[in-house]
């Protein structure tokens, strides 16, 4: 695996940190690769915008911060606007389709979207949208072995919510595979309606 910089961003309460943690853990603990995760702290990290960075590589990671992410996972409009400019040319953008309206996209950016919140709600718990997003990321990028991600999900969530989270992961993963096979025309699904309020 080449050095890959990933930023996961959204708003407080969406489980942004956990998504990044699962991705990093899958690489570092279950796939024999290296992963370094960092996050923003302090008052600015409570409520409002939340963002975590994770770097994956098959070699030890020296510089700890993400500078030009290869992948941006955006789960809020604010996160999208704030972090899109740093996305590497030719980078991959994954968005929550009900929460992010994609506009002003520079040429060369690949984008895929998923209604992760709605899918999570179908499973009965909106809060697992972050794990739906991880599944989606896993299928689209194929950076990590699905089983490594699955194990990392199981190992990172409270025991009582394991089954739910695994289902959320599978749901997102399946949605991602279908997206790759052209069953979702993600790029054309951005709602033009005002964003709903969440949390």
């Amino acid at each position: 695996m080449q050095l890959t910089e990933i930023r996961v961003a959204g708003f407080g309460g969406q489980g942004v940190m956990l998504s990044a943690h699962i991705i990093g853990k899958a690489a570092a603990v279950y796939q024999g690769a290296y992963a370094t995760m960092t996050q923003s702290f302090g008052p600015e990290a409570r409520g409002g915008a939340a963002s975590a960075q994770v770097i994956l590589s098959d070699k030890p990671i020296l510089y700890p911060y993400v500078t030009r992410p290869d992948v941006l996972i955006a789960m809020s409009q604010e996160a999208y606007s704030r972090f899109l400019p740093e996305l590497k040319p030719g980078g991959l953008l994954l968005v929550e389709s009900d929460l992010v309206r994609v506009s002003d996209l520079p040429a060369g950016i690949r984008v895929h979207s998923i209604p992760a919140t709605r899918l999570a709600e179908e499973l009965g718990r909106r809060m697992v949208l972050n794990v739906v997003m991880v599944g989606f990321f896993g299928a689209i990028t194929a950076l990590l072995e699905p089983d490594a991600l699955r194990k990392a999900v199981i190992d990172s969530v409270p025991p009582a919510t394991r089954d739910l989270n695994v289902r959320a992961f599978e749901k997102g993963f399946e949605y991602g595979l279908n997206t790759l096979h052209g069953e979702h025309h993600a790029e054309s699904e951005h709602p033009s309606l005002p964003l709903e309020a969440h949390d």
Partner: protein, 386 residues
Amino acid sequence: MPHADPRGVLTGVHFMDGDHAACEGALAAGARFAAGYPITPSTEIVERFAARIPTVGGVFIQMEDELAASIAIAGAVWAGAKAFTVTSGPGFSLMMEHIGFAVMTETPCVFMNVQRGGPSTGLPTLPAQADMMQARWGSHGDYEIIALSPNSPQECFDLAVRAFNLAEEFRVPVMLMMDEVVGHMTEKVVIPPAEQIEIYPRRHTRLPPGQYKPYAPGPDLVPEMAHAGEGYRFHVTGLTHDERGYPSMNAAAQDRLVKRLKAKITRAADRLACYEEEGTEDADVVVISYGITSRVAQRAVEMARARGVRVGRLRLITVWPFPTRQIRALARRVKALVVPELNLGQIVLEVERAAAGQAETISVPHAGGSVHAPEQILDAIMEVAK
């Protein structure tokens, strides 16, 4: 050496941040008492300890301030526990008096400092390495301490264990000098089985109460301890004292005590020196760094090598006592020593002193709040390699 008590060892492969790893290192090392006061970016260490210690067997107490936390641990040590406190920035400043107290009373304990930007409240959530001189000189009077600088969560674990072992061996406060990046970054941390973790035991006296003198030094200048409640009826004071532990306030007693407290560390400096050295054999330039900066420096070194510069790197793991002899030997072989650090030039002064004019010493300062861009260090290497 005996092995770790398995109750405190979370053996396994984890994806964990440096703060949590430092806490696990303390638990693995046998720390069963911690006193703390919340302060960013170190709080996660005591939060984890507070959550973990009831099921391991021990006590965490959140004290009313850092002064209290930093001497509560001394009380716990004299009752028999291995103990530590954790802080950052302003809290470290408040703890200075009790670092001196621990030095003077030879109380083995560990201070973890997750460095953030200063002076004063500074940058609570962002990194610096600007307390390195404070760790060495911050308390009043002449003394020596030991300070270790981890550059990854894995090392936060490993060096936390070592910090406790050195504290016990030398009966000195040991500083684990982390920084915000290392404390908050999450990486793989492998915690070995308890039987693979060596533990330096408390140097408890075997003498009976009538014969025991609390501050009679052994051959390595370190005295043996007794604990309160064992019948020794000993006295401990921060005043200058004699071998009985009684106050003895005169120049001769001061000379004897303070010189011994210093010598027990400096005599062992070669053994304490711990550093990682790579590519220095035929180097023209060597980058000397520690903590998170060492990782950025390594990238800069790789970039410089790609441009044909013969550059090596040396990473200080033990920062105090400073490995003067080793750096001096290095300075004789190379043209320049480049010292990036997240401060405006602290350890570079030691490097310069050690180099003693044998090699040019270049500071690459950074006021903190982030880490260096590798290019900043690269530029310094290229400039001096011209």
